[in-house]
């Protein structure tokens, strides 16, 4: 009798709890990333949770495929459409391939925005750039130029040859090269955002270009692998690895001197801002050129003619501040 009573009570409590959850009608926002298990996106998810805590009535679904493929993201999008989420905020592996699936999501009343790595215009309502591409392109070249005495060969180690944002940044970086006469860009290679391949590509660069002074890796996987390759080759002080990295992963390289400085925006802010924008769009804001949509503590996103907005400037990390940031993300 006692056991039965307990079971009944538990069941009753469970029913009440479930009913409460259902009654709350949380706004379900899905944060879809390129692939799970990448530090940058884990930090963005943390930011999304911060936004959710601030807003109160938001449930964050942090998800993504195992490997960085468009096909994998489409499977994830289909599952999210089936669940009837309120918003999808995606960092896309391919701007075009995911567009048809996202269009279907919008047809079924789901708010769709892209952040970090964009989606073709017809596949989203707006896109949030972490920073402006021109500023990033300039920053990564400047970081390399600042620490070259005289002139020197510089090579770029990118992610995949189809990575949307890396390609834009490299394009912008090439535009500002005339402003940095001491930088001689000799090659762009692709490590596919795989640690082992990036490491080998960095080794290849060192072997091919004896006058190499800096490797610019505008990807968190690439910069880490390249700084490891430089360390292993005993070329600390000769070759400076810079680009875009995560403070937690780069702390060792900065301390050893393989990397003097690197830049990144704050992915926590990015996840936070993407969540705030999704929420405001679900609650009735309209994404149209010229619109200003609030992003909580970060300010407001002002949309350009392509419904794109920039969040903030990239931030430089070096020996002076790495200790402070490495525990954050």
């Amino acid at each position: 009798m006692g056991i039965l009573k307990k079971a009944l009570t538990t069941a009753a409590i469970a029913t009440v709890l479930m009913a409460q959850t259902a009654a709350a009608e949380n706004v379900k926002i899905a944060l879809v990333v390129k692939a799970l298990g990448i530090g940058f996106f884990e930090a963005a998810a943390k930011g999304a949770e911060e936004a959710a805590a601030e807003l109160g009535d938001v449930e964050i679904i942090y998800t993504g495929p195992t490997s960085t493929t468009a096909e994998g993201q489409i499977e994830v999008i289909n599952a999210l459409i089936a669940q009837g989420v309120d918003a999808i905020a995606i960092s896309a592996n391919d701007p075009d391939a995911v567009a048809p699936a996202l269009q279907r999501a919008m047809d079924r009343g789901i708010t769709v925005i892209s952040w970090d790595s964009g989606v073709a215009k017809e596949g989203r309502q707006m896109h949030l750039n972490p920073s402006s591409s021109a500023l990033i392109g300039n920053t990564i070249i400047k970081l390399a130029a600042d620490h070259i005495e005289g002139t020197g060969d510089v090579a770029i180690l990118s992610a995949t040859s189809t990575s949307t944002n890396q390609n834009i940044w490299i394009e912008e970086a090439k535009k500002v090269l005339p402003n940095y006469p001491n930088v001689n860009l000799v090659a762009t290679v692709y490590g596919d955002d795989l640690a082992d391949k990036s490491y080998r590509e960095a080794q290849g660069l060192m072997a091919t270009y004896p006058n190499l002074k800096a490797i610019i890796a505008p990807t968190t996987v690439g910069i880490l692998a390249a700084s490891q390759a430089v360390t292993d080759a005993g070329k600390i002080g000769e070759i400076n690895v810079t680009g875009l990295g995560l403070p937690s992963e780069m702390a060792g390289a900065v301390e050893s001197g393989a990397t003097i400085s690197f830049a990144i925006w704050n992915p926590i802010d990015l996840g936070y801002a993407a969540t705030m924008l999704s929420y405001n769009l679900v609650k009735g804001a309209t994404a149209e050129p010229g619109a200003s949509i609030p992003m909580g503590r970060i300010g407001a996103a002002v949309l350009d003619e392509n419904n794109e907005a920039a969040m903030s400037d990239p931030f430089t990390y070096d020996k002076s501040n790495i200790e402070q940031f490495k525990s954050i993300f």
């Binding site: 096909e71 489409i74 089936a82 391919d94 391939a97 048809p100 073709a120 040859s161």
Partner: protein, 325 residues
């Protein structure tokens, strides 16, 4: 337990007992288990449109898996299928850029697949090179050509009528891809299990030399099998390109292993000589449902990979354990 007398190899079990202990029976049980679990785990699973969406997870891969199953039964393998998709999709993109309309695009896609199959077939069946080496080579070659043509660019803007193959519906929730999957399942079932060509495939897989001496034109059969995988990859390329509405050289990356997984999970012996199309159909359904069901629960993809790996080892080990008893 006393040891029962050995059953003479030429004596058949009763058909019912055989069916119950077959690989397909295990797969049916797994499929039902997955379906029921999913239905209870997520309130969104049992919904016609959602299930229809879920079929896109496996239809294209399954189309290739049918041809791949026959190839593996015959003792060969084709690891270039995903690269054939990339090349066929790129060729369609080039044709589109030159102004080709939908029927021409489809022909170009399938034609490119056929051509790739001819190359693989000529190297393996014609020159007698090992298929695994040849297709690892063509895997890099075909995708390499796609990368040379496209680099970091993409082909977009396929004609609206082209969308039908990957986004269109034949009737209610039955998508074109699902219908094609069903038709091809029947076609390949008949081809493998009801024709002399199918018997020849099994014979070659069990003993190619003996097959040769019994009058089977081994080289020709193997050549045709490579043509089939090429053509099926071309058809899959048409569907996938249409579904994505774009072409990039990284399209369908890693699919060759997923196709082979589907075939092996379907009970086809990786050493050749045995397997069935119904098994592959069931494996496709299981993989699709597991992927979708886990997606609905927002289970991280890596857990899904682990589950599929365990499932694969499980269904392979189970019959062996049962037999030992």
């Amino acid at each position: 337990m006393t040891r029962s007398p050995r059953i003479l190899p030429d004596r058949l079990q009763s058909p019912a007992a055989r069916a119950l202990r077959s690989w397909e029976a295990i797969l049916v049980a797994v499929a039902i288990a997955v379906f029921v679990t999913n239905s209870f785990a997520s309130p969104y699973f049992l919904n016609a449109w959602n299930l229809s969406d879920a079929t896109f997870n496996f239809t294209e891969k399954a189309l290739i898996a049918f041809a791949m199953a026959m190839l593996i039964i015959a003792g060969d393998i084709d690891l270039s299928v995903a690269s054939i998709i990339a090349l066929a999709s790129t060729a369609m993109g080039v044709a589109m850029a030159a102004g080709a309309d939908t029927p021409v695009l489809v022909l170009v896609g399938i034609g490119t697949g056929l051509l790739c199959g001819v190359i693989n077939g000529a190297l393996v069946a014609g020159m007698g090179l090992p298929s695994i080496v040849v297709t690892i080579g063509t895997m890099s070659l075909f995708r390499g050509i796609a990368y040379i043509v496209l680099g970091d660019k993409a082909f977009t803007g396929y004609p609206a009528s082209f969308k039908f193959f990957g986004q269109g519906y034949v009737w209610w929730v039955i998508s074109f891809e699902l219908a094609l999957f069903a038709v091809m399942a029947v076609v390949y079932y008949l081809l493998l299990h009801r024709t002399s060509f199918g018997r020849a495939v099994f014979a070659i897989g069990n003993n190619a030399t003996a097959a040769q001496f019994s009058g089977i034109r081994v080289a020709r059969v193997r050549f045709i099998l490579f043509l089939l995988t090429g053509v099926m990859s071309g058809i899959a390329a048409v569907c996938l390109t249409s579904r994505l509405g774009s072409t990039r050289p990284s399209i369908a990356t890693g699919w060759e292993l997923e196709v082979v997984t589907m075939v092996v999970l379907g009970g086809v012996s990786i050493l050749g000589g045995s397997g069935s199309i119904p098994g592959v159909v069931l494996a496709a359904l299981i993989m699709g449902m597991v992927t979708f069901g886990f997606g609905l629960l927002n289970v991280p993809g890596i857990v899904m990979s682990i589950f599929l790996g365990v499932l694969l080892i499980g269904v392979i080990a189970l019959p062996r354990l049962l037999r030992r008893r």
